[in-house]
């Protein structure tokens, strides 16, 4: 009876947490950042940054990320300064009361492609390209879904049509997506010699965006391992103490 009680309690807790999501099954991928010891593959994340800058950044912002954050995925201070300086931001007012443009600094947020949401819509057929900072956490299926989406473009199957300016995507809810296929083979040239296939670029950008979603994940997991080890030992001691205290109660 006690076992049944525990089983039902567990079902109550865990069973109801899973929500229904009616969509095509998203294939499960292996990611470097999965598991309790998972870390972000630095080389992949750096290639992902390149994909972001050369492909995604034309339309998508990355508002939650500062250039300084790039130190997390292995960039040196000098490299970050140089990377930031490629963009211009508005600053001011100066002592004359004028706004002025200056190169971005590591303490600036990633510069947005459009000055405001309406400009973003106007430049994209009325569709708003969402901010990518939290994209991995903000979609059911996370990295697997994003990878499936980025590699899931095809011609519509016979009998299905898509509206003017839309593309067919197997994994997008409703199958019609306003974003044209973003990745084409050799869209970028990787400096480390990795072949820039759609599959590879997709894996890299997803790794990069997993990092932007949760830059503290590695710290979280490494602290978690220590906390768990401590709690195992501590709870073991508590069990021993309890047994000792209760030894003469029947």
């Amino acid at each position: 009876m006690r076992r049944a009680m525990i089983t039902v309690a567990a079902a109550l807790i865990l069973g109801s947490a899973g929500q229904a999501q009616a969509a095509v099954e998203v294939p499960k991928q292996d990611w470097s950042f999965e598991g309790i010891f998972g870390t972000y593959d630095r080389a992949s994340a750096q290639r992902g940054l390149q994909v972001y800058k050369e492909v995604c950044a034309g339309c998508h912002s990355l508002d939650q990320i500062y250039y300084r954050n790039l130190a997390d995925i292995g960039y040196s201070t000098a490299a970050i300064k140089a990377f930031a300086a490629e963009e211009e931001v508005q600053d001011g007012p100066d002592s004359e009361g004028e706004m002025y443009m200056r190169p971005a600094r590591p303490s600036d947020r990633f510069v947005r492609p459009f000055p405001n949401d309406n400009a973003a819509r106007a430049g994209n057929n009325g569709a708003f390209p969402p901010d990518l900072s939290l994209m991995v956490e903000a979609r059911v299926g996370g990295p697997n879904y994003l990878h499936a989406l980025l590699t899931g473009y095809s011609d519509p199957p016979s009998g299905k049509t898509v509206m003017e300016g839309m593309s067919y995507n197997k994994y997008f809810p409703g199958n019609q997506i306003a974003m044209p296929p973003p990745l084409l083979d050799d869209a970028v040239e990787y400096s480390d010699g990795t072949k820039a296939t759609v599959e590879q670029m997709s894996r890299d950008i997803v790794t990069f965006l997993a990092w932007t979603s949760e830059p503290n994940m590695e710290e979280r997991k490494s602290m978690g391992v220590k906390v768990m080890l401590f709690l195992f030992v501590f709870t073991g001691l508590l069990v021993a103490v309890k047994r000792r205290v209760w030894a003469d109660v029947h």
């Binding site: 109550l12 069973g15 508002d63 954050n69 978690g224 906390v227 768990m228 508590l238 309890k242 109660v249």
Partner: protein
């Protein structure tokens, strides 16, 4: 002043003669008699109070960094996650702590149901617990709105609009809740204010719950009262040690989610900033509200002059309110399900019904889930207003033990032959 003070230390004695906190603590947390046959399900009250403290401490620290404004709330939460020292840890603890609180409290409540802890003389103790549950739900709902994600916003919209079903004053109440004519900045501000206030009201209720507990003493798995020192052990060290073990295992469970699956209980949509112009495809509340959400949405037809919407709201609140009168609905004098063969069975059916309603709450209200939700809702109330009253009349309970120590010492198992109650008279 009293000369028979038990305190030797002059400072402690001086204080205790004027404000007897040391005598109080000694009486209520050291000598306090606890039934010696309590199982680990009796840990969950202590665990709930630990979670409450954890929530208050992390919440106060989060409030130092959080900005309750529609333009900044979402970004300020992300700033906590990214730039505040250990902000991610505080926020993940607080976020998962909400789920932990409900897991612990639901187990605590079902333990009370199984062992009949709500029966005389513990009716007020039970009713205070139901009040705590209601306040917890309100607090959790308010808190879920604060990150100002899509689910925050739309959850707030759906739940507050429920009140418009109340005749005559419904719209006025909704406007009052919103502080305007839609969920907006004023709503976020008052929700933040109330979310900060409620836990302290909870503290007060928990205090009363504990005082009531210390008057009636704990119920126990046999459901018979303690008859003397042979039936009890002092709270310290026996239950400090036992609660500590439960706390250890609970912290392992809690930490697993905080560190390795922090978004398990959450909704992906809440990582999208609130957008009043875009309704999510599927608005669902947090998991702990799903059974109630299922009840709310199970009513599809009007009842005479009561609209389906109002009836749903009445039933949803009724599902919790009915617990207030449970002590009088259950007509059986026997507390523990151990000695109630039919009730024991009915208890599991009821638990299964609640789990099923929880599942239904996460589905779209149509087709099979809708029917399951309607059947589940009817059974939920039937359990209280039909099954329990009738069961008290027709059920033939098993013979009760004459005291707590009888089944423990006499019931075979690991007890040594010479183990008698006399051994209990030790510190």
């Amino acid at each position: 002043m009293s000369t028979d003070s038990q305190w030797k230390n002059p400072v402690i004695r001086w204080v205790d003669d004027r404000l007897p906190i040391f005598t109080y603590l000694d009486h209520e947390y050291q000598q306090f008699p606890m039934p010696k046959n309590l199982n680990y399900f009796w840990n969950f009250g202590a665990l709930a109070s630990i979670v409450l403290v954890v929530m208050v401490v992390t919440g106060i620290m989060l409030a130092m960094q959080y900005t309750p404004h529609v333009d900044y709330a979402f970004d300020s939460v992300e700033r906590i996650m990214r730039d505040v020292n250990y902000g991610w840890l505080l926020r993940y603890i607080h976020m998962n702590g909400g789920s932990m609180f409900f897991i612990v409290v639901y187990i605590h409540i079902f333990r009370g149901l199984y062992y009949g802890s709500y029966k005389a003389p513990r009716e007020l103790l039970w009713m205070l617990g139901v009040a705590i549950l209601l306040l917890m739900m309100a607090t959790a709902f308010l808190g879920y709105v604060l990150p100002w994600g899509q689910m925050s916003y739309w959850g707030a919209t759906v739940i507050t609009k429920m009140f418009s079903a109340i005749p005559f004053i419904g719209d006025w109440i909704v406007t009052l809740l919103w502080g305007g004519f839609s969920v907006d900045n004023a709503t976020l501000n008052r929700f933040f204010s109330l979310h900060y206030l409620m836990p302290f009201v909870l503290f007060g209720l928990v205090g009363m719950h504990v005082v009531a507990l210390h008057v009636t003493k704990s119920n126990n798995p046999d459901g018979v009262e303690m008859n003397g020192p042979q039936d009890s052990v002092p709270f310290h060290p026996y239950f400090t040690a036992k609660d500590a073990v439960g706390t250890g295992f609970f912290l392992i469970f809690f930490a697993y989610f905080v560190f390795f699956a922090p978004n398990f209980f959450g909704e992906a949509d809440n990582y999208i900033e609130a957008n009043p112009l875009q309704t999510p495809a599927h608005i669902v509340p947090e998991w702990y509200f799903l059974p109630f959400y299922a009840i709310l949405r199970s009513v599809t037809v009007d009842f005479w002059f009561i609209s389906a919407k109002l009836m749903g709201v009445i039933l949803m609140f009724g599902a919790t309110m009915i617990l207030f009168v449970l002590p009088w609905l259950d007509t059986s004098k026997v507390r523990s399900a151990r000695y109630r063969p039919i009730y024991k069975f009915v208890f599991w059916i009821f638990l299964a019904d609640c789990v099923m309603l929880g599942w239904v709450g996460g589905q779209l209200p149509e087709g099979i889930p809708l029917i399951m939700g309607q059947v589940g809702t009817v059974y939920y109330f039937a359990h209280f207003v039909i099954v329990l009253p009738v069961l008290g009349w027709i059920e033939k309970p098993l013979p009760l033990p004459t005291s707590i120590s009888e089944p423990v010492t006499g019931g075979g198992g690991g007890a040594a032959p010479g183990a008698t109650a006399a051994k209990m008279e030790k510190p």
